[in-house]
Amino acid sequence: MVSAIYILDSQYQTLLFRDYRGDIPRSAIEEFGPLIMRHECGDDIDSPFSKPCFTYQGVNYLYVQHNNIYLVVLSVVNTNALQVLFFLNEIVKVFTEYFTTLAEESVRDNFVVIYELLDEMMDFGHPQTTDYKVLQEYITQDTYQLDISTLEKTNSSLTGDKVSWRPHGIFYKKNEMFLDIIESINVLIGTDGHILQNNIYGKVVGNCYLSGMPELKLGLSDKLLVNSSGNIKPINVSPTESGSADTMSTPNTNAPVSKRKPIEMEDVKFHPCVGLDQFNDDRSISFIPPDGKFDLMTYRLKNKSKPLVWVNCDVEVKPRSRILYKVTVKSQFKKRSTATFITIFIPVPQDCDSPKFKTSIGTVVYAPETNCIVWKIKQFSGGKEFTMQAQLQLSSVTLNAQDENNTDGIGEETAIMSNGKVGRAHRPISVSFEIPYLATSGLQVRYLKINEPDLKYPSLPWVRYLTKSGDEYSIRMKKPLSS
């Protein structure tokens, strides 16, 4: 239960607040800044004030930081912390949708809308709705005179329909439904070249341009297994079920389906529009979609194949304070796929100069602001391997640090510790890329049936596949050799 929400600037001064329950003194928020700062100055990691929620003098503070502002919830009771913190993250998302960027300035400029939103999203400390599309129906940034008749007609949450996420009376001339299967690969490779993590975070994003209240049924690969239920059940799909208009070609149609290994999903999550009970009963995904873009489902599974892009980096310290990097990048996917926009970030010591690069493909630049070498390759087909060599001159500061630390410090960011010794932050190499027309897991859309009981229009479903690097695609740096 939330008592009040405060939005604070970077100096912990109140920009705006909404007191829902009036059971917390206004002075309570003045404690927040000093408490946080006390932790930031001291280095005690066990301090309760270093955590996203803490209690002080009978008031519980839960907060998230976004850009240069803090969103703080105050509560006096033993509230549901996960719900509150998730709700705050949802607020950030909604505000970002409204104001493009959520920061001090946009809060000041849009206080009227923010008050309206806070009132609509939460009542007396109970979350109401955090769906941007629903909110947008009755809170717009432009002033407008309310027209009740159109409002009643379109606003689903006002008409009492069970489908609160989709307004009535939507009409498109051309009825289309787009499905994007986006798989983000998170990989972590250890210094010894072992794969520590190799996971796929998949997402099926729907983009709906359909009239009326269509009922959709989605059929995925017949080899799909969902692990989370404990007892593994394949989805039963009979080929006759898929109507001709609704079947679509998948990028790998030439590959015989039966040969592929079953896809074992670790966990699947659905948009609220999908009936969870029905999925649990017969594994079918039936839903009435919201209008426009939405995340239909997300899933997580372990990647059984090799990491798609492999980077190997040898570091060598040469005499006269030079440092040499030999970076090899290898694409470990099928030849017919092509990766695009590959960017490799290689961490280097601070304040290097006179960088020299040699590569057969792409461009290399030294980015001193992030202490990285950035190697960009536009296109890269499967089963290839390229090499890049870089040479940098070390600065004297780094050199001194290096003396104390026996060349170990090279290639890693050095930092002076409180006791005067030099520690090393192991920044990993990170890689980003995209591979269109490929779903690494092998997930395929078999059919998407679209049925609008009243309008019965013909409709076109489109499916796209994309594999890309996730937030965490990193390879830990090896220890440098010295010669």
Binding site: L15, N60, V76, N78, N80, T159, S228, N231
Partner: protein, 732 residues
Amino acid sequence: MSMSQQIERRIRKAFQTPKKGETFELRNGLVSQYARERKDAIQRTIQAMTVGKDVSALFPDILKNIATPDIEQKKLVYLYLMNYAKSHPELCILAVNTFVQDASDPNPLVRALAIRTMGCIRVDKMVDYMEIPLRLTLKDENPYVRKTAAICVTKLFDLNPQLCIEEGFLESLQTLIEDSNPMVVANAVSALAEIQDRAPEIKCFVVDPHILSKLLVALNECTEWGRIAILTSLSDYKASDIKDAEHICERVVPQLQHANPSVVLAAIKAVIAHVEIQNSEAKANLLRKLGPPLVTLVSSAPEVQYVALRNIRIILQKYPQILNRELRVFFCKYNDPPYLKMEKLEIMVRIANEKNIDQLLSELKEYSMEVDLDFVRRAIRAIGQCAIKIESAVEKCVNVLMDLIYNKVNYVLQEVVIVMKDVLRKYKTFESCLPVLCQNIDELDESEARAALVWIVGEYADKIDNSGEILQGFVSIFNEEATQVQLQLITAVVKLYIKKPEAGQNMIQGVLQTGTKSDNADVRDRGYIYWRLLSSDTVIAKDIVLAEKPPIVSTIEDLPKSLLNELIGELSTLASVYHRPAATFMGHGKFGADAVQKRAIEEQKQLANEDEVGAGVNAENLLDVDFSVDSPTVDSPASNPVTASKGGSALDELNDLFAPVQIPKITGNASSNQDIMNMFKNTAPTSSVSHNLSSTKDAFAELNFDNSFSSHANSGVPSKSSKTNEDLLGLF
């Protein structure tokens, strides 16, 4: 001089005029004949309110704008009313008519807005007028209005529970559980759950088989936030038999697939609440289903992740097998915030087993070469915890620790010494490490590390060639050492004396003499214990000092059983994050929920008093053409709350004196530690006074037992309990 003063005054005046103008201008705008100007003025008033300026003096003028077809303007006026209602309760009544009218407006948004705002104007007199509109809106044809009215019942309950019950609003809420609209269902459930929580004696939301079936139906119908409320109520429900529990789990399990992580955790909580009663096969099956959703929680936003990790720790202690194969998920990411890294380490050592230890060790070794000092130390500590937890892996762990010493980084070394102390307590087979540890004494500057080393030297006095020399080095600066080192030193010298009398002979007298003259009672007591022990009978003294200690099982901090059982029922709440019973951070004393609310009310009253003065001045000023500006209404915004809170807390203290103090029912982790400490403190002096040796022996046995228990429970929170630990350790 006077010249400059004049100029100063003139300059001041020049700066004051805009202030005066602001309120004046706003007032002019608010009563303007043009709607657009009025709206603009309202917006600017709200803006001033937002930045903390006190604009309560404009109350009557704002109120004039309440009747408007423009819903945005209406919202702003209502917002203003909510903010200043407390300070102008009389004026609020003027708005009642508009509220009542709006509550039957043809536009459902206006109806909902009216009823929502009425509930937020927390003035007693408002209650009388709320009754009829609330009754109407609860039965409104429009679900948006109904869902707002449902929440409004809790607002009314908060103001006047008596009226709320008498007028049958709670029954109306109960019928809304079966409403056709998901949002109404969600709010009805949330509202009932809140009222049940605040006033359990009314029993408005006791889940019985009838309500249960309603809730299970509603679970699939209502919004995500309502699902959380339903699932939470379900986990408080005691299933009557196995069938009942099975049925609930069957309906709850699909919710594990929900996109909202708090729904998922609420579902996990509900399953755990009903899993114990079921047969072992069904139980294992259900628990297996919980693993993947828990893992997915770890990929949410960092703050959400933090709560999830704290909860996973509780669940892991109850069901250690649940994430056996998921170690890698908890590997720290380079850019994780520090609080997440620490929490992940805690979970990794708990999942560690013989199969995954190699992987874990190489990861921990990676961390112990990082740059973040606290993180490095915690990683090294984790290696030690693994060594003690998994006997088959101890050799590998010690090898990693010894490798780290060779890096010669000061803080790493200190931590390794502390960790090795625990390893050497459990395993006697690592004498080969002793020389390495003893080589670096000069590097140790933290008392915990020094104390650990002294303990090691004492315990292995006969295995270390120069143990006498080493201890002599410490003894020579006895008075400069911290208490914990002194305590260890006394014990270590005694051990040395018993094991190698020729080496300890010279030191023992001096140490005991210095010790017993110490200002610190603990050091003194320890000195006397050993002195008397040694002077009575050396054989018995040897038996006691060198007695076989009960082995330590684990240095991973576990929650006490009673606390664990309580927290399992509190998953996802703040209690589960703090790992403390809810009673310890709310509900009693000066900072209890009621007291905080009282503080808030006092503050409001104070503000109101000041405002009245301000309003009075302003009203006069209105008549006055050239009104002066220094009225308190334009006072700096910060000063008011501060003084108010001071007054409030002083009052609170007075209140506390008279109010019956609620005593928390469950003693928490901290207090149980305290108990152990007290026990120790009580027993120690007694045993030192008593000359009966057999009773001393008993006391020692008890202490030894306590030691293994408390170190087992405490080692994770060194700051709090290190004192207990070292006290007990010394008596070995």
